[in-house]
Amino acid sequence: MCESSRMKIRFFLNGQAVTVYAEPGETLLSVLRQKLGLTGVKEGCQRGECGACTVLLNGRPVNSCLVLIPKVEGAHVLTIEGITPERGLHPLQRSFLKHGAVQCGFCTPGMIMSAYALLLENPDPNEEDIRTAISGNLCRCTGYVQMIEAIKEVAELNRKSDEY
């Protein structure tokens, strides 16, 4: 371990300014889990294929296992912990529960973050949009159907509240 190559990285995590010291080769995933104690973001395949490590980086969904920490300097990172309110649940979280879209739960945080990112960019997605948005998140338990139903319902609620 070469101490002298450690960098000081400052960024915004779930709305709060944080500072970490890390090797330039460390990934955002590793920093979030090991250094910042956020285990909601999951370590899956470690090669950007499964999506279990999905977080938002400046509003865009990324596989945090592929993001090297220097890239995060000054950026905004949003994780599942960041969208969970103080009390209650985010509508996506509530909808996933209601529709039975959660089985083992390992893909769930990443899946919800991808859905969250979709709705940020496109508040009125159709089913095709939803399927595409979560196509980078593998799930082996649920078969995706109830997740698509859950995201649809949140989109529908958004549509209705917009009509006010």
């Binding site: 889990r33 899956g44 649940l89 959660v102 390992f106 082996r140 078969g143």
Partner: protein, 755 residues
């Protein structure tokens, strides 16, 4: 919601949210891969690069000298006792020889994974390569090299089962069809790869964080192999990222235990997804030669099967999967008169094969249901009609002695056919297929006692704690048990806490596999809850001076004769009068006494219940590309009685999508003993883009043994998928595809060849 029996349930059959759901959607849920213990060492494994070789010597000197390495172990540092979940034949670390590419040869525990990997790279192993066998048929030849000296002709297991006149029964048939079907290696690919964290204290007590489906069995196995008393081994579980049968076996546990014992420190051994794909465990690949004969009116008479299955280098669970299950299960769907099956399980120098959702049933169902359609075409009758005419009815006993106490299969077939518009004309390259399945739910098979015990404990504040040895894999067993407890006692489900499995605390259960937990643990919970309620009312009678027959528990309150008291206040009274003791009740359920093996010729009513299903697929084949588009998919399941509505739907969607992967997409490809596509980027599983419209149909047949009439559904949802799709492709193209997966390339080539 009422039902056919007129019974009203608050929770049973309803949409009840997963009790673990909040933890999971908020990211709070701690999974095995999240576990960190102070001073925990990280391990790396050195694996064999050769499929078959003698280990001449191993030099670990350079590896041990790497700063930060706590220890390096080889077979000399671990017990020589063989381990395995069924027929132990595997060393903790390879001894004398290696038998597949990936066989574990050495392991390193170090301060971090980078150091461990560095040390691994410095271990020098001298091998003497041996000729290897990869094809089971070749491996069975008399002059083939032996994978295990103890297994002549590399036969790991064999069974021969004859009923009635066996193959002589074909003399009674008017029409006979015969063909050979091939199924491939796949991986269940749960998202959280296998790992094990073993913690150890100064007295050598082990706490093993092990994501297996059978925690008690692995506690026993670790104790046995390492010569430890059971009391020194404690398996503790947290949330698990999927299992599907693949976590019935584990190699990480043994290595982690060895390292922890050697170093006296906690050790973590973790695989990656790529390790899983390349090194284990895979679904048993098969070559199934099958012959079915019938009368010209479509009455099924005789069936003959010869299975040659690939065991891989070590037994894992394949012996029973092939020689018991594959050899009998599909026969029990129909009223065959004569059956003869030979099943060969053969050692090869490849990754060990094991359990994956269906436990042999998907493979044999693919063969049988495919060939039945060919039989139907030969006879000139509708494949649907052929099935309807021959399926067992309630009250019948199958050819292997299964007693059908409930069956909704005829209804599944009729309703599914109606929903998919079975008879409607279809254009060229569009087709429909049907496939049935029968499975067990609550079967005997393992030990002298195969049951499940549940303990309920009423807390001081009137809430409930449920203890069970059934692991939560994501299938929702904890929610189902909480529903049953809440229903029977009269509590709110929000007041029921189901504790995770801890072998020092939880009562014994084999664990979830074979689709058994709803029946076994469900019935056990029901019994415990009824007993607990009886105890509550016995004391409430004293407290309220109301005869217990007039008392009920509703929504956490004891009510009767115009009196009402919360369970919380009841418990306060109880403590004042009986002392500060807990109220506890036990419930136990075990399947019937029948276990099958070669000793009783595999005959017997082995399961408490038998779930049934019929799947219908409608496909459109693109002749330009060979791509298959599934336009509709109907999964009709006789579930006995739904316990959790969204949970049951989830099992259907999940199983069907896994089945689509099996039927059309997935295959682990071997070249000279090495897997060439052992990465997630090359081994493609279904994504959200691959999911068709799936329509579940639930038929409730109210089984007399299952809790509230329920039968399990976990494995059944995958079992008939490949056959239904293959039959639909046959209808669409006129071509019978007999080898899984049915890829676009295969379809394209076959269509081209036909032109």
């Amino acid at each position: 919601m009422g039902n056919a029996t007129g019974q009203w349930y608050r929770y049973i059959g309803e949409k009840v949210e997963n009790i673990d759901g909040y933890d999971k959607v908020t990211g709070q849920a701690i999974f095995f891969s999240d576990i960190e213990i102070p001073h925990m060492l990280h391990a790396a494994i050195l694996r064999s690069p050769y499929p078959h070789a003698k280990i001449l010597d191993i030099d670990v000197t350079a590896a041990t000298r790497v700063p930060g390495v706590a220890c390096v172990i080889t077979s000399e540092d671990v017990p020589s006792t063989l381990y395995g979940p069924q027929r132990p034949d595997r060393n903790v670390l390879a001894r004398e020889k290696v038998r597949f590419v990936g066989d574990e040869v050495a392991a390193v525990a170090a301060v971090d994974i980078e150091t461990a990997l560095k040390a691994i790279s410095l271990i020098k192993v001298r091998y003497q390569q041996l000729p290897a066998v990869f094809d089971p048929c070749e491996a069975m030849q008399p002059n083939a090299v032996l994978v295990h000296d103890s297994a002549p002709r590399n036969i790991a297991s064999f069974s021969r089962i004859v009923r009635g006149k066996g193959k002589d029964g074909f003399s009674e048939c008017d029409v006979i069809v015969e063909d050979e079907f091939t199924t491939q290696r796949v991986h269940c690919l749960y998202l959280e790869p296998q790992l094990c964290v073993v913690d150890i204290d100064k007295k050598g007590n082990l706490t093993v964080y092990l994501p297996v489906q059978t925690p008690f069995l692995w506690r026993d196995e670790i104790a046995r192999v390492f010569g430890l008393p059971l009391s020194k081994v404690r398996v503790v579980q947290v949330y698990m990222g999927g299992a599907f049968g693949g976590k019935l076996d584990t190699s990480t546990a043994m290595i982690a235990t060895a390292l922890a014992l050697k170093t006296g420190k906690p050790v973590r051994v973790a695989l990656s997804n790529d390790d899983e794909l390349k090194y284990g465990f895979h679904r048993v690949p098969t070559k199934i030669h099958i012959r079915i004969g019938a009368k010209k009116d479509g009455t099924l008479i005789a069936k003959q099967v010869r299975i040659v299955a690939d065991n891989g280098a070590y037994n894992s669970l394949a012996p029973k999967i092939v020689c018991t299950n594959m050899a009998t299960r599909s026969d029990c769907l129909y009223r065959y008169k004569h059956v003869e099956t030979e099943a060969y399980l053969v050692y090869t120098n490849k990754v060990p094969t094991s359990a994956y959702r269906g436990y042999g049933n998907p493979q044999i169902t693919f063969a049988q249901e495919s060939l039945l359609d060919e039989l139907a075409y030969q006879i000139g009758i509708d494949p649907l009609e052929l099935r309807i005419r021959n399926i067992h009815s309630v009250g019948e006993t199958t050819i292997h002695g299964w007693q059908i106490r409930s069956s909704g299969l005829a209804k599944c077939l009729r309703e599914g056919a109606q929903m998919i518009n079975w008879e409607a004309p279809r254009p060229r390259f569009r087709g429909r297929g049907v496939a049935c399945m029968i499975h067990v739910s609550g079967n005997r098979g393992k030990l002298d006692w195969d049951g499940s015990e549940v303990i309920l404990r009423l807390h001081e504040d009137g809430s409930l704690v449920l203890l069970s040895g059934e692991s939560e894999l994501g299938q929702g067993v904890r929610t189902v048990l909480a529903q049953i407890a809440a229903e029977e006692i009269g509590l709110s489900i929000d007041d029921v806490k189901v504790l995770p499995v801890d072998t020092d605390v939880s009562p014994f259960a084999l664990g979830p596999y074979s689709t058994k937990t709803t029946v076994l643990a469900g019935n056990a919970t029901r019994e415990a809850a009824q007993k607990l309620k009886a105890k509550i009312l016995e004391y409430a009678e004293q407290m309220l001076s109301v005869p217990r027959a007039k008392l009920q528990v509703n929504n956490g309150k004891i009510v009767g004769a115009d009196k009402e008291v919360s369970l919380k206040d009841f418990m306060s009274w109880y403590h004042k009068h009986e002392g500060r003791r807990t109220i506890i009740a036990h419930g136990v359920f075990e399947p019937g006494k029948v276990r099958i093996s070669a000793d009783n010729d595999f005959y017997g009513d082995i399961s408490a219940t038998y779930p049934l299903a019929a799947h219908f697929a409608e496909v459109e084949v693109d002749p330009e590309t060979g791509q298959v588009l599934i336009t509709r998919y109907i999964a009709a399941h006789d579930i006995g009685k739904i316990i959790n509505f969204e949970g049951a739907r989830g099992q259907i969607f999940g199983g069907v999508v896994q089945g689509i992967g099996y039927a059309l997409m997935e295959e682990l490809v071997y070249e000279d003993g090495t897997i060439t596509n052992g990465e997630l980027s090359n081994y493609l599983i279904p994504t959200s883009m691959d999911v068709p419209t799936i329509e579940p149909i639930f038929v409730e047949s109210y089984d007399p043994v299952g809790p509230y009439g329920a039968k399990g559904i976990g494995e059944p949802t995958l079992i008939p998928v490949a056959a239904a799709i293959a039959n639909a492709i046959r209808d669409a193209t006129g071509i019978r595809f007999k080898e899984l997966p049915i890829t676009p390339e295969k379809i394209f080539m076959a269509l081209k060849e036909r032109e």
